[in-house]
Amino acid sequence: MMKTMPEPRRRSRTLLAVLVLASLVLITVDYREGEGGAVAAIQRGALTVFGPVAEGFSTVVQPIGNFFGSIAELGSLRARNAALEADLREIREQQVSRAELERENEQLRRQLDMRERLGFTTTAAVVIARPPSNIERSVLLDVGADNGLLPGMAVINEFGLVGKVTEVTAGNARVELLTSPSARYGVRIDESGELGFLTGSGADPFQLELLDLEAEVSPGAQVVTHLFTGTSIPDAIPVGVVKERRGPSSRFLEVAPYVDFTRLTTVQVVLNFPSAPSELPEEEQVPAPELPRPKVEDSKAEDS
């Protein structure tokens, strides 16, 4: 006697077989007909109906989906954020260094212009350090004796005289700035030729003492260096502009510097200049006058 299958199970197997068969028929028909067949047309019809429904549904669930999507992307977003921040830092650093390079380039170009104008032989130097105290008015350069530097050489930048070399090692040189209270330079009024001595005064304007006891110099007159015997400061380097009288006598004047001594980054050390005192005829040389140095005020008080 033949064993029969329970009705539900038989029905289930029949259903399974029918559905499998239906699937295979659909696959076969779609495979054979391709894009132009009836199944493809039904597929297009289904998409036509479903499309607007999906669009409406999308409008509703988009914010929710975005929320879950952002959670799912949290890891990658963090990584991307970190990468972008790193890129931004790099770009900022590049911008800073680029701006710095452009500024330095412009500065050097102007310094070269001044060197060409004055006919000097110079070597470029970078200010690498300043003294730790506010009292000492000097800077340290990245060039020294190996680059031909000697004590006494003038140091200029694109605006004018910066100071002179006071100490030299093989690779470095210390420059006493024009603002140093111990600095004293022979200068002249560019227009009138009045001679005098310029003294640094810390953060305050330079003190100018004219040799002529009755000299009259108007504010705004340009002060330049003057070549004296025994110095290696070239002639005609711009120093500053006469600001006002200092006291009742017209001999004593205040001079505002051209150089911004707080922003020194690159300078030129004058190695040689065309009319050094030793090259001048004896009769054209002016001896350095022996004058008492003006009293140097307390630089601490000046700074404050």
Partner: protein, 180 residues
């Protein structure tokens, strides 16, 4: 019966809409969940093989019709039909087991579904499937299905209880359904 069919239709439509709209937003590494597959497996685990096969066939057909490109109509219907039937047949063996077993079954269902689909696509040369892609997809499908089936079982169980008609009604109750 008609109310049950309507409820199943709503579930299917919702699953298709979620699959079309939401899934792309939550895909990880290009692999998103298959909500329709989750619904099929959920129905199969709660209502049994017959409901799983029927729902799987219709859901797969819906997915086929809404899939464009080189996709062959009937392929997903066959895959979901077989997965629904297979998961439903495992339902009695889930009796008394921990929920983790149902999660494991879901993961296997995910692997089988993607494996069958990828394998048949490879055989029919209708998609640029490779063996590596099938392995990756099967693993992703396993993970997503294991996560989404327990979530899908919540509304499916409610519908199954509200609109009886599956094997749950015929046999009294689903042990697996009670588990979840």
């Amino acid at each position: 019966m008609s109310a049950r069919l309507l409820a199943l239709g709503v579930v299917l439509l919702t699953a298709l809409l979620l699959q079309s709209v939401v899934t792309p937003m939550i895909a990880i590494g290009g692999w998103g969940p298959d909500i329709v597959l989750a619904a099929v497996v959920a129905f199969a685990l709660i209502d049994g093989a017959e409901t799983g096969a029927r729902f799987g066939f219709v859901a797969g057909l819906g997915s086929d019709l809404l899939s464009g490109g080189p996709h062959l109509v009937g392929l997903m219907a066959l895959v979901f039909l077989l997965v629904g039937e297979g998961a439903g047949r495992l339902r009695p063996y889930l009796s008394g087991s921990e929920p983790v077993t149902a999660v494991a079954v879901s993961a296997v269902a995910g692997i089988v579904a993607f494996g069958l689909f990828g394998g048949m696509s490879l055989l029919l040369d209708i998609r640029s499937f490779t063996f590596l892609l099938i392995v990756q997809g099967a693993l992703a499908s396993a993970a997503w299905t294991a996560v989404t089936v327990p979530l899908a079982m919540v509304p499916v169980r409610a519908i199954s209880r509200r609109f009886t008609g599956g094997e749950t009604a015929a046999t009294g109750s689903s042990v697996a359904g009670r588990q979840w």
